[in-house]
Amino acid sequence: MTGASTGPIGVLEPDNRASRQQRSITGEKRLPDAQSAAFRRRSWAERSRGSRVGQSAGERLPQRARWAGQGLSAPRSGGLCEQLGRDYFGVCSEPVIKDNVVVVYEVLEEMLDNGFPLATESNILKELIKPPTILRTVVNTITGSTNVGDQLPTGQLSVVPWRRTGVKYTNNEAYFDVIEEIDAIIDKSGSTITAEIQGVIDACVKLTGMPDLTLSFMNPRLLDDVSFHPCVRFKRWESERILSFIPPDGNFRLLSYHVSAQNLVAIPVYVKHNISFRDSSSLGRFEITVGPKQTMGKTIEGVTVTSQMPKGVLNMSLTPSQGTHTFDPVTKMLSWDVGKINPQKPPNLKGTMSLQAGASKPDENPTINLQFKIQQLAISGLKVNRLDMYGEKYKPFKGIKYMTKAGKFQVRT
């Protein structure tokens, strides 16, 4: 029980971090596999939990489909199977499954017994069935061994089933990403109808041994509703509002939280729009301006505006002041990739729509969906206070990153 390090977390600048990442990629170049850092980075952000809701055990879907189907059939939903697919092969797509049908089968075998889930924790599965790597494939072909592990993973029987024992790293590092998404509906006049913040803390922990981490917040009472990775000690959170946990190895989602709508959510952007169809002519006017508002001095990046235009719109001729735009006349989807917003010169998209001749003007206005990103800012004001590690002697490298994104951000027109 010695606090190996008790300093506050230094905020890691993105460029610094990128260089670290770069280094680790080059370091492991010979193994462009699921273990490699490049892969881990990619899957880290994309990772989300899969789940099965709705059926109690006794009820029968067709036996096999009962569970497996949930993950495989749900497109883009990040179901458990898909997520494992990404964990194993980097991407989960048809060709990848075809190429690795054996491994997929082996993993499914480990996951299911007679239609019931057996082991779904990725750490355990990876020990039972080793992810395919080029090196291992070569070795297997020559020596005749397989990917199948021959020992029961130690985690399975311990009280920390999510972590395997004997983890070793030369660089001990723990990164936490606080990512907040703003879900909002903005009405015609620009006032907020509903807005809430959904945040997650994704972690990438590569620490030797059995570290016991404690993460505390400056303002934990902001968090209105939380759900934890099973590793978090719930009692400790209830009594002290501190996250205390033995982390799984690698990437995982530590916490997801919700900041209630009662706290007024600062909306960092405004959208001014002027979309009008005239009854008489077959032309309509279209103008959107996106600008920053309450950004706490940070730049808004990666702004994308999409809008589903009414069926009557045949084509659009628009000129953006910045970025590029496309309009698909088949799906009637307008998308405008804005990029960074310059507060002095708010980007603007202006032009005309040509409507179906003779048809009456569409009586609905399109809704505008907005995507954006703000680095180094958690819009709810949540701040991590410190991260302490107990149980191990070394001093880990710690980093925390904040990001705000648009979730389901809609502007009604």
Binding site: R49, S51, V53, G54, S56, A57, E59, L61, A68, A74, S77, K98, V101, V102, Y105, E106, L108, E109, L112, N114, F116, S145, T146, V148, G149, D150, L152, Q156, L157, V159, P161, S189, S191, I193, T194, E196, D212, N219, D225, S227, F228, H229, P230, K235, E238, S239, I246, S256, H258, A261, N263, A266, Q308, D363, E364, T367, N369, S380, G381, Q410
Partner: protein, 1112 residues
Amino acid sequence: MSQVALKGRRRPEGRAFPRDGRGQALLHRPRCLLADSPSAGLALVPLRPQRAALIEKSARSLRRRTLWSLLNPCRAAGLASPARTGPRSLPRLQPASGPAISSWAKSSPWPPHVCRPRLQRRQGRLRWPRGARVRPRPRERRHLLLRLQADPNQLIRASALRVLSSIRVPIIVPIMMLAIKEAASDMSPYVRKTAAHAIPKLYSLDSDQKDQLIEVIEKLLADKTTLVAGSVVMAFEEVCPERIDLIHKNYRKLCNLLIDVEEWGQVVIISMLTRYARTQFLSPTQNESLLEENAEKAFYGSEEDEAKGAGSEETAAAALPARKPYIMDPDHRLLLRNTKPLLQSRSAAVVMAVAQLYFHLAPKAEVGVIAKALVRLLRSHSEVQYVVLQNVATMSIKRRGMFEPYLKSFYIRSTDPTQIKILKLEVLTNLANETNIPTVLREFQTYIRSMDKDFVAATIQAIGRCATNIGRVRDTCLNGLVQLLSNRDELVVAESVVVIKKLLQMQPAQHGEIIKHLAKLTDNIQVPMARASILWLIGEYCEHVPRIAPDVLRKMAKSFTAEEDIVKLQVINLAAKLYLTNSKQTKLLTQYVLSLAKYDQNYDIRDRARFTRQLIVPSEQGGALSRHAKKLFLAPKPAPVLESSFKDRDHFQLGSLSHLLNAKATGYQELPDWPEEAPDPSVRNVEVPEWTKCSNREKRKEKEKPFYSDSEGESGPTESADSDPESESESDSKSSSESGSGESSSESDNEDQDEDEEKGRGSESEQSEEDGKRKTKKKVPEGKGEASSSDEDSDSSSSTSESEMTSESEEEQLEPASWRRKTPPSSKRAPATKEISLLDLEDFTPPSVQPVSPPAIVSTSLAADLEGLTLTDSTLVPSLLSPVSRVGRQELLHRVAGEGLVVDYTFSRQPFSGDPHMVSVHIHFSNSSDTPIKGLHVGTPKLPAGISIQEFPEIESLAPGESATAVMGINFCDSTQAANFQLCTQTRQFYVSIQPPVGELMAPVFMSENEFKKEQGKLMGMNEITEKLMLPDTCRSDHVVVQKVTATANLGRVPCGTSDEYRFAGRTLTSGSLVLLTLDARPAGAAQLTVNSEKMVIGTMLVKDVIQALTQ
């Protein structure tokens, strides 16, 4: 592996073994040389000792059906041949026997791996004979698998059982049974888990084995490792869900283990426990009116509330002696308390399971806690959303209040899939009430302009439902719907007509105009349902439109042949009604219509025409009926009730597939109704293992008092109850010695973890030792049985007395909290029955079957039970989660002074996000004038020194009747001076001031009792203010005191050792100096209030305020 795949493709699914006449499986291969005879001259290829892999492979190949399900999509997707992927993963068999195998592969439906002959173990290496084309007969394979079941590696033992249990051949059922039994008493929990998984497989193969399997399930249910719990309950649900009696003894253990079980297991266990609780406990909602008083506080649900809620229920019940008081069974409470943290699970399935458990089992006042978690799930993928929304829709009908605060979370986005939109609409409609209907309707208004026409139609239906449910808005809705009639989209118009028809039926007299308008629409609307609705309306209310109705009939008669059936029927109907009211004008038209209908193709229409004619046109016979035709046709009809399609879905267990489909699915277990009389609660008591008691009894007796009170607040025992060895070893020696049960559980935990052989041996001795203990323990009840007859046996009598003592102290422990003691009717009966069952031989199930029993069937489960019972660690929470200020809304600007602008403010007690030193103040604006107010902002404040304000963002415009809320932060600099500032609109400035009550100048701090005492010691003398007071009768219960204090001041509760003392701690916001408040309540209402704070002014004022709050 890929060969397996290849073979799998060739073999048609479901093809059974080829059989001979006797039902024996025939082998394709000619019997070959037995591999282990060296004379066969086969080269032995040395293999790496990867037996697990080997067995797993043969296991897999045997269960190709799973593979099939995997391969089928591949094939459909045009996967040429999985053999492409072959060489990489099929190395082992290739070198020597390649050609042989490939030729074999062509002819046999079995992949070569399966026919692997016996594995040989020589000099510690596994060998594999090269001429391995032989496929052993099932018997041999069986032997192989059975032999592997004795393998030292648990993974191999488990895999062998998995393989064996997956062979779907009836003749090996006895062997499977044997293997399962053996594995069920295996040392490794992993193998036991596999045994549990094998049970349903065997059951589906041969259901005659049920009785034996139930024995195994019973044994495994007593297992106390988290790994096994989920699987065995799953087996229980599959094999014998009706044997609820098996659960009794394990109930408390399951409740306590629940949080540590893996997620899949949690789901199964929770749904089983829901059913169990429905059969064993009384309905908590039977005294609903009493509970409603508690609704408010329990909404901010916290464990203390729950624990104490029962107490206050009881006092409430005492106030009404006429009713039979309801007291929640402590086991029922245990279940609710232990499942609650799981609402925070990351798995949507678990959250849903807990939600349904609360919905079905919790008292009305406590169900509210699940709303937040369910709303959180709405962020998930659309599949999850769909399921959750379905359940929310059902819940929101029964418990509307629960989701009302989250109304806005159900607002619809244009990107939602249609079925989600419709479900959200359903929920919004269910939630609409008098107060929120304006917002809901405004929201609906935007939906009507959506591009998704199905959704628009559903919205119109929803508006109709709102209009019927809430009388106040009926006219508004009706007008809105009439406006929609001029919509360009026919579907929208049609839907509106249908809804208008339903609405008009409620009050037709006033709406002649609307009916006329509708009549005009018949020319344009083509949707049959809408046309039919209009015709029906005109017919029904033809008195209101006497001039138009015949004209409509004329038009319809003209186009009769071209109409849809449903319209035709209504035309006949209209004609009949008009004939009866206005026969002069319409006689000919009616006859024309009827004769057209007589020759219609549809027999329904022909029938109707004939029938109508007989009714309305008096024939020569002078039918008795035709005299009453008017009464028949124009009878007053009751208005339709528009109600939700989710209305009666709650008879299905929520979260079940059946609920989702609204139809009973196969295998659905009906959720039983609450029993009238509670079954005997003592069946859940578990025998106390003597050895735990003996070692700790002395200690415990001494400590009994502080033990309970300690566990109420301190985290020591709490953590040990987590069964987390880390924290257990961390927690100080005090707590571990306090809870002897904790010790024992950690001990046996270790036993289970040591699965490696060496360690296993080490623990074996330990286990045998324990076995010995158990034997002595077993003797105890026997001794008791004899004791009544033969007292001379000193041994048995001593053990008897001992066991009596243990049972006594056990009883005391089973009375978890003080409120339980106050329950005379039930507790009087309970001890007697308890005593019997504790010592009853019948009830005690000795582990007679197994030679080596899994560690600690009885003892450890009890240990877990005791842990659960000492778990009253709740006092911290309520103060945290109920930040309601006593100071409610206060007026900042009156309507008159503000010229229509009304401004109120509340202290939200939430941290202000910009600056931690600031008090966050919610300011509510509403515009009661009839012109919009523009540009609301804070003008230049004139503030006393030190006080600063973080202004709210400017409110651009506030339309008449609208209201808005803004948050501003004020740093009061730890003084109660008022913050004066100007509130400016575009035209006016108002001077306003906010003066904080002293209690709002602080934020709660969480500290332990020791820290509190330490800090208090530093703040003596000048910094201590003490005052005496008398507590009125109304506020002597813990809960009331805590609530009053926390409502007055924003302080956090500090756990406290003695029951009559309350401690609270906080820090002032600006300077961060500590404010410690102690309330020492003495008997008979006298109390002493002490406040320790550096800020003496704050201290004095706080004392004053708190006393005022308490004595009021």
